[in-house]
Symmetry: C2
Subunit: 555 residues, 2 copies
């Protein structure tokens, strides 16, 4: 089989205006970016606001392993499969970050015959959304230092400015700096640093905002630090919210592209899945729901982190009600969860598979706890043996959940028709989504609830001061916010090596941060890198154009 | 009369595909960005390479004053005027930088009835070119620090890295920093800082590159600093040139927009006019020349800086041969050059006008020195008196140069038809452009030649070490490069207060820099700000969206 990039380059793309027409959108409803990308205009989105909403399907997965699960591939395959059986479906996924592609190779959106194109553009500047986030974020930063420089009327404590700058680049040298050196003309020196753009609260805000007015309101609520009285200072206090909104006006419009099978895909927004909620934008999901009968979307990492945040943050804040959950599993990844080393994955090992199924089982149980119907998508690898697949089917049957073998990687939508039919049947009735915890539950209890009920931790060990800060925010009126937990994606626990279904562990809660603009409290349980570095031999060394102007080395 | 932004918003824009069709470009030859912007593809540009070239008209001006000259307005008006009299003309100007608009109000491209639209997009993200320059520049920076971090095989001296980072933002706090703090995982600490994106050598390179291969070759020649033996280290040594080219691939394609009168305009690139050459891209100018009979372009600042660099840097390096020069003057600006204060410009003052004409006369003489026909465009203001205009005509007649009164600001192209006819007549034969100095003249002599023959300085006072560095570069094989002088734009001299036509002054040469990628040596004569700050009350405070989603406060 060809590589992902070979398949993507050979794709028979339709003009993006034709894809838009399939959604009922005319030429004036889109802003083309080249011939294969477009934004759906704010006006077109407003015009769809009252249309009946399609069914919302979340694709999530077991805990990720180096073996790969194929969550995005399954999202795309299911979308194509639904369209093949006559259900009008749109796929909604996140955009890729440009910077990391120059460290490690860039990635497909999906894989094999289940991909979204144009792959190269989506790994480079795409429609400029991330650049707009970078600009808006850094304008606020410049205005903060400018305010301090020109007399500091708000009495901002320069030592307590928490708003950093961002760049869409892997650049470790920017992590920790002293800025504004060189004398009075250059401002007031202080310690600061840069995060990568996808870690920006502005990115999370872009992905949670329902429209331009809500975007501006959220931007205004960003807390940038404290004043001399230790009171929070916001972006609205700085006066930056209006200008930031102007910089993000175009970026808030969802991007329309297509699958290899010429079905519509909205690729929009890309917040981190650890310190942020890791989902594509609310505005894209809502637009897709208004324009299609089925919307297939995914959430970052495994279901413990990604689906939990999709359900308890995105759906809660946006008033979305999902209808079904697809949990993707592979025989290979389950065997790794059952203790097999990566090098030994080629050999049949039904015992290990059975052991690893504990991981799958817990995710199924968790998803059912939200009141949603669940189906397991077995993303087929050619190395899977019949005995292994049978054992996986047995496990699912024993747990009362349907498992469907999928071959979309190899066959495209045709390989996911069975899954598509199952999903259509499962969503004949609307889902009865219940969030894990009510808004009014205190912040600390929310953290405990997630750790105990989703992760199955025995307890949460908070660092000194953490509970006091939570109580402060509770008193300041932020108690209704949901909680966004940043921890390793490899395990239910905080220990990346504890695969399967660990129990009885403690979750160490190191730090909490208030993302008042995005609208959640971040609970940091482990080391979270917000500015990656380049490796010793960065991919950039091999990236270039060939004689035909084609990009080489990016994939 | 309405404001520029009101006129721009009321423009009856044609679909950009119709504007492209006027240039003979089909749908596949352009990449649309929305409905009113497009890039001309690399393939379409290659296909035009052998077509006969139109006439190239440079619009330049007397030294700028706060009274305004209207150089861009005249460029646009002349383009529209040429089209009105049946000459197929395209306008080529630079793109605007996003960052400064959040400090002071953003600007129109042109003014009154002679503008290029869409004005808002062109002041914001436009087609993302500047973001691409930022990314490419900062990727190189990240790769330099990464190289040092992982063993520093090239033995780069961290104290002698001259490659800084860039951001398209006015942010004084980024001018001078200590980076890579926080321990070994964050790299090797060193002093550095940020410039604004338009000051990047990558921007100058984008504007001088003839195609993708030349772009990569130039990027590879960038000198980023010195190694332990004080030998230059290049971007190619770092291995960044290929990846930077990939990031700039789309940005190298010129942007097609339109005038208020629906004539084609290419708006592409935007290097500083002090430490860089201040012209739109070579690729845009060449493409316009292949697609039109007349190309009207402009250069930054007055003719002493802008036209000199256009002629001695851009035309020389690109092999362009201009056919005529339009020197824009206004009665108001000439009166300021003749000693009138801004507040007194309303009153008729023929004497001051005559005195100020010395500035115009010297620019005319300089332009003629390049072997080119010259016409003076009197950009009419409603406050100009008949006596003043008559005196200006008299002055020009006495100096053997035609002066044409232009009313394009008020009337659009109709107000520049006389100028258009004059230009057509002047360019019936090809221009006989001769550069000011030959390539083989030594670098120091080139600097002296510009200072003495164009500025009329008595001498150049070089700071210690400057001549030694020039000799070093001469010996290293850079002696053939042209020279790019960075000095105040307000005077022929280095003293911004010396208006008119000063003589006998010394030019202080503070520093020289090698821009080996762009292909020139920068001679810095005065304080040049490469990272502006925001004012006490930045425009950003008043920028926002109104209830209709329209941008307010940007203009």
């Amino acid at each position: 089989m060809k590589s992902d990039i070979e398949i993507a380059r050979a794709a028979h793309k339709q003009p993006i205006s034709d894809i838009a027409a399939r959604l009922g959108l005319g030429a004036a409803d889109i802003l083309p970016y080249g011939h294969d990308k477009a934004k759906i205009t704010h006006d077109a989105i407003r015009a769809q606001a009252d249309r009946p909403q399609g069914r919302l399907i979340l694709v999530t997965a077991i805990n990720p392993t180096p073996a790969g699960e194929g969550k995005t591939t399954t999202t795309v395959g299911l979308g194509d499969g639904l369209n093949r059986i006559g259900a009008r479906a749109t796929v909604c996924i996140r955009e890729a970050s440009l910077g990391p592609n120059f460290g490690m190779k860039g990635g497909a959106a999906g894989g094999g015959m289940a991909q979204i194109v144009p792959m190269e553009d989506m790994n480079l500047h795409f429609t400029g959304d991330f650049h707009a986030v970078t600009s808006a974020h850094n304008l606020l930063a410049a205005m903060i230092d400018n305010h301090i420089h020109w007399g500091n009327e708000l009495r901002i404590d320069p030592r307590r400015v928490t708003w950093r700058r961002v760049m869409d680049m892997n650049d470790r040298a920017l992590r920790q700096n002293v800025i504004a050196l060189g004398g009075p003309a250059n401002g007031v020196p202080r310690e600061s640093g840069f995060d990568i753009t996808v870690a920006s609260e502005v990115m999370a805000i872009l992905c949670l905002a329902s429209d331009l007015a809500d975007l501006q309101a959220r931007l205004g609520r960003i807390v940038i630090g404290q004043n001399a009285d230790r009171q929070p200072v916001t972006a609205r206090d700085i006066g930056a919210d209006g200008a930031m909104t102007v910089l993000l006006r175009d970026a808030l419009q969802p991007n329309l592209v297509q699958t290899l099978e010429n079905n519509p895909a909205l690729v929009h927004g890309g917040p981190f899945a650890n310190i942020a909620h890791g989902c594509n934008s609310v505005i894209a999901t809502r637009t897709a729901l208004a324009l299609s009968d089925y919307v297939v979307t995914e959430a970052g990492f495994g279901a413990d982190l990604g689906a939990e945040k999709f359900l308890d943050i995105k759906c809660r804040l946006a008033g979305l009600s999902p209808d079904a959950v697809v949990v993707v599993a592979t025989v290979r990844a389950l065997k790794m969860n059952g203790g097999v080393a990566r090098a030994d994955l080629g050999a049949e090992n039904v015992e290990a598979l059975r052991a690893g199924c504990a991981n799958l089982g817990r995710h199924i149980e968790n998803m059912r706890g939200y009141g949603l119907p669940v189906v397991v998508a077995i993303n087929h690898f050619t190395t899977d043996t019949e005995a292994e697949i049978a054992a996986l089917h047995d496990y699912c049957r024993a747990h009362g959940v349907e498992a469907v073998l999928c071959r979309h990687w190899e066959l495209g939508g045709a390989g996911a028709e069975d899954l598509a039919r199952t999903v259509v049947a499962m969503t004949a009735e609307r889902g009865a989504y219940t969030p894990l915890y009510p808004d009014e539950m205190p912040l600390w209890d929310k953290i405990e609830t997630i750790c105990k009920r989703i992760y199955r931790a025995a307890r949460v060990d908070a660092a000194p001061g953490v509970r006091a800060r939570l109580e402060e925010w509770q008193a300041a009126g932020h108690g209704h916010l949901p909680v966004c937990i940043a921890k390793t994606q490899y395990s239910f626990s905080a220990d990346p090596a504890a695969l399967g279904a660990p129990e009885g562990f403690a979750i160490p809660l190191r730090e909490v941060r208030l993302a008042a603009g995005a609208g959640f409290v971040v609970a940091i349980c482990g080391d979270i890198m917000t500015m990656p570095g380049l490796p010793r031999e960065p991919a950039a060394l091999r990236i270039g154009l060939d004689a035909e102007g084609q990009v080489q080395g990016l994939f």
